[in-house]
């Protein structure tokens, strides 16, 4: 199933206001510690990296490990600097990159 991303990012902000960025991505985050009924280890497949950019400049990024829950729900912040595009990329263990973006007007 393709990962679905839900986001809540304000579309407007005052200059230098601190905005809240809320995201949820549907993903099993298979930890690599579990076994199936036959005793085979289920291979690890998680989102190992999250990067948030504002007009292509990195604002916040994170490295994730198997202790992150399934269907990660995250909240972090950003200082509203200029109008433009906020993009969040989730890097999957299998090489895929799940991406979402939102436009914001500052001022």
């Amino acid at each position: 199933m393709p990962a679905q991303i839900k986001s809540r990012i304000p579309s407007k902000a005052a200059k230098d206001e601190i905005i809240e960025i809320k995201l949820q991505i549907t993903h099993d985050m298979e930890s690599g510690n579990r076994k199936d009924a036959a005793g085979n280890v289920l291979p690890r497949r998680i989102i190992n990296k999250m990067v948030c950019t504002w007009n292509n400049e990195v604002v916040t990024s994170a490295d994730w490990h198997p202790s992150m829950s399934a269907n990660p729900f995250i909240v972090f912040y950003a200082r509203a600097t200029e109008s433009g595009k906020i993009t969040i990329k989730f890097h999957d263990d299998n090489g895929e990159v799940h991406e979402t973006s939102a436009d914001i007007t500052v001022g």
């Binding site: 916040t60 490990h65 202790s67 992150m68 995250i74 972090f76 200082r79």
Partner: protein, 154 residues
């Protein structure tokens, strides 16, 4: 060995085979549950080097008791003006009781506005969750939070 296998023999064999599978499953359990504070210590040494963490500035908000360890909300806040001269560079969250001690490491910039994150984490058992904030001047601040877990989530 006799060619005359009775129904009882077959059942006995099935039972032994099934018991064998069960024994293997039980034997692997201690490996799964092998998660100790010293694993967390080893990871922290790798993450922050030999910096001496100070108390204060970092606050972990989490319940004291979790019914299920599958997705427990956690918020970590670090007091910092988040300016170019004085900001939090990295915030590490480490678990003392999960099979993998690393939970997540967040990298901030002055444009992050404030050093605060919320997410949900897995908890294998009753344990201490730790947070380490590496500041732009190189100092490290830390906090700990003990949480009781009734159902494992790993």
């Amino acid at each position: 060995m006799s060619e005359h296998r009775t129904a009882a023999d077959v059942r006995r064999r099935d039972f032994l085979a099934a018991a064998g599978v069960g024994a293997v499953a039980v034997a692997t359990l201690p490996r799964m549950a092998k998660a100790e504070p010293k694993d967390a210590d080893a990871l922290v040494a790798k993450l922050i080097g030999n910096a001496q963490p100070k108390d204060g500035k970092v606050r972990i908000q989490m319940k004291d008791m979790a019914e299920s360890g599958a997705a427990e909300p956690i918020s970590v806040t670090v007091d910092s003006p988040m300016t170019a001269a004085d900001h939090v560079k990295t915030l590490h969250i480490v678990s003392e009781g999960n099979p993998n001690p690393g939970v997540s490491s967040w990298h901030f910039t002055p444009r992050s506005g404030k050093a605060e994150v919320s997410f949900r984490m897995r908890l294998a058992k009753t344990q201490v969750v730790r947070a380490y904030a590496v500041m732009s001047d190189g100092s490290v601040h830390a906090a700990r939070h003990e949480i009781k877990v009734t159902i494992s989530g790993c």
